[in-house]
Amino acid sequence: MKTLLQGNYAVAEAVRLSRVQFVAAYPITPQTPIYERLSDYELEGKLKGVMMRTESEHSAMAACISAALTGVRTFTATASQGIALMHEMLHFASGNRVPVVMCNVNRVVAIPWAFGSDQSDSLSQRDTGWMQFYCEDAQEAVDTVIQAYKIAEQVFFPVMVCIDGFFTSHFLEPIDIPEQEMVDRFLPPPDIPNRFDIKNPAYVGNVVSPEQYMVFRQKSFEDMEKARGVIKRVDDEYREIFGRGYGYLEAVDTEGADVVLATSGAMTSTARVAVQSLKDKGYDVGLLKLRTFRPFPTKEIQEALKGVKKLAVLDRNISIGKEGIWCQELKAALYPLKERPTITNYIAGICGADVSPEMIEEMVINTLKREDAPELPVWVRRDQ
């Protein structure tokens, strides 16, 4: 049975169902309803364990890290300035190899001050060593949070589950909230090692030499590579039990298409409408939904875009001084191929600015018409 819920509350449901033992959080728009709902659960006895109301996001992540090192299942949520403040702790979490799961509700980073969706807050945390997943809707967010614990606790990397501010976090959607019993079957109770065993004392986080430091980094790099298989296995298993799975990405009619539209997050739903409308008009167009950002699915992308001549990349983020972040990553992934599509990057929907199916259709047609790809990204917005 489906329940009508806003995305934030759906994420809170997933946290409860995952039997999280320790939550540390701090309010920030548009994430706050997750924190509030978890507080309700605590009061109602639905969330066992400890709820720590910290004085900053930085401390929230600090406490999640040390609690996870002590062997408990942890969660926090944040957005925008909050994830920016946490930045140091994000490196710290992955360096400590803790299976912390965090929901980041994408929101612009000041300045100017604003509240709408923009993936730059989390995409700019690219090199912190976190796994990152971008969800199309609240259902996917619920499923991804539950999956995230199973992945994180096998590979010992923290996982970030990202949803679009307001579009996904606040809009009501009919959502299938899984049964506790089924979730328990999929996700066993936490079995996380306690690194501070008084019977076997160890020092966590020593000072190391340059060579030793490199050894640790290389090990992390190699373990993240190994995690690719785990992500796939967990997703397959989830699909078997719950009938829903997402893969690293979703490729719809991409192979050999005249043009493919690549996008991520909530904008994918709009893109689906635009692509269908173009197909109805006779265009040979495919859709590439990007879900996993780290580890980056290079092979899967190369596979999905085989024989594609033109690629339009729709980014709700911008790396000033370069271009959209997904676009950069896609270009790098396609570079090793002998034949690769020409790529046009569209920057749209920043700060939750309106992106209609018609606007996306225009982007795709524009990409098809072009002989060469423009050097700079194309900014698309409604005139005001």
């Binding site: 033992q21 540390a24 004085e55 890290i65 040390s66 690194r195 966590v204 000072v207 030793q212």
Partner: protein
């Protein structure tokens, strides 16, 4: 009274990498003697961290986590809550931070943890400057004292941290120093048996940063107390003061004259400092009186 066994046991191995005469090492050693083997230590950047372990070694016989600079308190809180969740009882969590990590960069997160009355002991090893990075001024550095970043002497007085601590109504707070080791150990023993956030402010001599001979650490710590410059007291629930040692009232000049960081002090500087010390002491005595 301390048991003989507590006085003799050691949870710090030999081989720490501190300078000779380092007050940080001695203070930590005394504290761990009392806390014993059922202890988890959180350490943050500072001399106490750097001297305690180079991979894969550790001078501590108890588990330790080298956390980040500004998060001694929330790190300790995360551990103590996780222990509670796991049903592991009777384990002391000790957060160790310097004055930089406490008076300055970690003050916000300490305030947050104390406000929630998280269950751990916070030990501030106050050597009155950023010693690990090579003697730079912190808000704990006394007025007019020389450091590498205050070559003309620091402007402004040492922050009154215990007043800030008092505002949090912690169940237990105390000042200690290695110059009075039994007083120190008794206070740690008390802190160990109280639930909630306990704050221990330790004045720790640093021969390197204080520009002082390495055999004068214990003496300087003793003089700090006996001159009333660093009085020893307890603070219960943020309101009740109890002085635990009646100082002899040795002139403060005796304390500062053995330290090179005060070398440039003129007679009138010394006089002004003596006046400040006497006034502060009177204030403390008044507070302690009203608490009885």
């Amino acid at each position: 009274m301390m048991l003989k066994e507590e006085l003799e046991r050691e949870y710090m191995r030999s081989g720490h990498m501190g300078c000779p005469g380092c007050g940080v090492a001695t203070t930590l050693r005394l504290v761990l003697k009392v806390l014993g083997e059922r202890t988890i230590v959180v350490i943050i950047p500072g001399c106490h961290a750097v001297i305690s372990a180079n991979y894969p070694n550790s001078v501590l016989k108890v588990p330790c986590f080298h956390s980040a600079f500004e998060i001694a308190a929330p790190t300790a809180a995360g551990i103590s809550n996780a222990l509670k969740i796991r049903g592991e009882e009777g384990i002391n969590v000790l957060a160790v931070a310097g004055d930089g990590g406490t008076f300055d960069i970690g003050l916000q997160s300490l305030s947050g943890a104390a406000d929630r009355n998280e269950d751990f002991i916070y030990l501030c090893l106050d050597n009155e400057a950023y010693m690990n990075t090579g003697i730079q001024s912190s808000s704990s550095t006394p007025e007019k004292v020389w450091t590498m970043t205050t070559p003309g002497g620091r402007k402004g007085r040492k922050k009154n941290l215990m007043q800030i601590i008092a505002g949090h109504r912690m169940p237990y707070a105390a000042t200690v120093t290695m110059g009075k080791p039994l007083d120190l150990m008794e206070k740690i023993e008390k802190a160990k048996n109280i639930r909630g956030t306990k704050f221990i402010h330790a004045l720790v001599p640093c021969p390197t940063g204080w520009r002082m001979a390495e055999n004068l650490s214990a003496k300087s710590a003793m003089l700090a107390v006996e001159s009333k410059l660093f009085p020893l007291y307890e603070l219960i629930d943020g309101i009740n003061f109890r002085i635990t040692h009646e100082p002899q009232g040795i002139p403060v000049k005796e304390y500062i004259k053995i330290q090179g960081r005060y070398r440039h002090f003129t007679d009138s500087d010394v006089e002004a400092l003596q006046k400040q010390v006497d006034e502060e002491w009177e204030r403390l005595v008044e507070k302690a009186k009203s608490c009885i």
